[in-house]
């Protein structure tokens, strides 16, 4: 688009208020667009409509009490956030975790990642105007939710991980359901590719749209699939393996150009990789307790701090915890991936069409409550 874009005549510019109530801003994002015709001159995202003060809440709660909050920041990958927070505190306070619990967590976290990506896939096509793939994805996602519901008892905000293990043990039914799901998901790829990936309209809507160069990604701290789409194989699961991720064989999918189509392909491939991780974890799943029964009831990490990074569905997420030795964190900061991923849009939007802006916003996969915290 950029070559067609010419410097505008100032008088022709008008402001369009995209959101906060708009069908495709995924929550309560508001973007002030300065437009020349349908070309975007300047974009100014306004966030904060969903600010709940999680960081302040953390200071007034014990670590255990903050645990349910963690899955409410990014409601699409709640279990991953939950997992990350529990891992951070465990490493901070030195809580032992049984092997089986580690595998259970990885399995559930990867299932959650697939469900998050599936939802993204559906809503992204819906942003582009195709309604039907959305429902197909929900059909598949419903399966994951059923599986997770079976073990966690909840469908969205799981609060499943505990310091020293997980809430509830897996049963045989769970394992067979998961294996059946993976098989089913793999059988659906052909349909998805025929319906969406190969579709000429879809390709034209996404190819060369919203290109994020590696340098731009670095400047804005873009992480996750968006970063991998521009060709940098950076994944916390590989670079700083936490839990048992170093025992699994999976690859980091990367793109080449960093456009919306690459981001799409990377996410689709990531789902397949998650399936592989789950399969390996199910094969290796050891017997044993699912929770460390002797874990202290009240977690009191020693004085100091920890910065724990993990890979959520949207990229590198980190909990920064400072403890004064009491059961309450002195400071809890959450580094969220969507923050940088959204901020880069001020740069990427420039010179694109309104329709492209929607496509780019969708392809970035932001979850607004995660940014607002």
């Amino acid at each position: 688009m950029a070559e067609q874009f010419q410097e505008p005549v100032v008088e022709q510019i008008y402001t369009l208020n995209l959101g906060p109530q708009h069908p495709s801003t995924h929550g309560v994002l508001r973007v002030l667009l300065d437009l020349d015709g349908e070309f975007i001159i300047k974009a100014d995202p306004v966030i904060g409509y969903g600010h709940r003060g999680h960081e302040k809440m953390a200071e007034n709660r014990t670590y255990k009490q903050f645990m349910p909050n963690s899955s409410r920041m990014d409601y699409l990958s709640g279990l991953l956030y939950n997992h990350g927070f529990v891992l951070a505190v465990e490493r901070f306070a030195g809580v032992e975790v049984p092997e089986r619990a580690k595998y259970i967590r990885v399995i559930c976290a990867e299932l959650n990642r697939i469900s998050s990506h599936l939802l993204w896939f559906g809503t992204y096509i819906m942003d582009l105007g195709g309604f039907t793939p959305f429902l197909y994805c929900f059909d598949d996602r419903e399966n994951i939710l059923d599986i997770l519901d079976r073990v966690t008892g909840s469908r969205l905000t799981y609060s499943y991980c505990r310091f020293g293990g997980v809430n509830r043990d897996l049963d045989g039914e769970f394992i067979s359901m998961t294996r059946a799901f993976i098989e089913r998901l793999r059988s659906r790829w052909t349909d998805y590719h025929n319906l969406v990936t190969k579709n000429v309209i879809f390709i034209h809507r996404t190819r060369d749209v919203g290109v994020i160069t590696p340098e731009l990604a670095r400047q804005y701290g873009v992480v996750g699939p968006n970063l991998r789409a521009c060709g940098i194989p950076f994944d916390v699961r590989k670079s700083e393996p936490y839990e048992v991720y170093d025992r699994f064989d999976f690859v980091i999918p990367t793109g080449t150009k960093g456009d919306a189509l690459d981001r799409y392909n990377v996410r689709l491939e990531e789902m397949e990789q998650s399936c592989r991780i789950i399969e390996q974890a199910l094969d290796q799943l050891p017997e044993g307790p699912h929770i460390n029964e002797v874990a202290p009831f009240k977690v009191k990490p020693p004085r100091g701090e920890i910065y724990f990074a993990f890979e959520s569905a949207r990229g590198l997420t980190a909990y920064y915890l400072v403890s004064d030795g009491s059961p309450y964190p002195y400071r809890c900061h959450i580094r969220v991936p969507s923050f940088g991923n959204l901020q880069v849009l001020t740069e990427v939007f420039r010179g694109t069409l309104v329709a492209d802006a929607i496509s780019i916003l969708g392809s970035i996969d932001v979850v607004i409550p995660e940014i607002d915290r």
């Binding site: 582009l128 105007g129 039907t132 579709n199």
Partner: protein, 326 residues
Amino acid sequence: MGSEMASDWIRIIVGLIIVLAFSQLNALFLVWLERKVAGHIQLRYGPMEVGPHGILQTIADGIKLVGKELITPLSADWKLFVIAPVLVFMPVLVAFLVLPFDENLVIRDMNLGVLLIFAFSTLSVLAILAGGWAANNKYALLGAIRSVAQNVAYEIPLLLAVLSVALMTQSLRFSEIVAAQCRVWFIFLQPVAGLIFLICATAETNRAPFDIPEAESELIAGFHTEYSGMRFGLFFLAEYTNMFIVSAVATALFFGGWHGPFGFSFGLPGIVWFLLKVYILLFVIMWVRWTFPRVRFDQLMNFSWKVMLPLSLLNLIVTAAVLKFI
């Protein structure tokens, strides 16, 4: 002479009443059908609660729409704003006058019938422009502008496609065009024109994947963002009635109108064949809508000017040449 005039008038008045009743009921049915088709494509039921399989759902929705407050935004140009939904519906009704439902079931078989339909269906874009403009909303205005550009772009290949049919029959009268297809439908003789016509007709009626004037994920609802209640309902009904008309025209021009396939009628009356084909085409339009993502505005224009227009011109030239030398 006098009695003939009178019978003509009676015919027109009765026809108009039937048209009004039919078009409304048909639009209601189409809305239901669309929701059912969408539902089953998406592995869900669609409306199920009101009436058997939800057949009365749209009537309930219509009653709800009638009961709703008609909101006129303060900053709107209210005269235009109020008149636009009426304007959008009028040309739709006129088009019914010349549709050949059966050999003798035409309200008025004009010798310029084809031209009349396209002349009037172009008018609806004016109403959309008026509505979008009068609402004084940027999304509505963007939608209206897109709609005008799109209609202008797709009108030309559409007419060129029709023209190649008209060349073959040497007539713009529907009854003659249909009569010429009693053995072979024109879709087999003019496949390119037929395809162009279908694509352009989808674009003309603002249906997905060409629904950029409405584009709910970009422009919220495009030109009817600010409309509420039955004013919105009129836009909605007009859209579905328009769909019916383009399908009917396509049936008459390319799919043999009231004729059965290859001259076999299987004992069915013409109107059954006609409506059957129309509803199959309508189903295809819905099927397309629930399959594809929306094209981008500039791509839509490119597609029209760079693909559709050259193709339709080429088709016209080839048709003319073939007719000349054979």
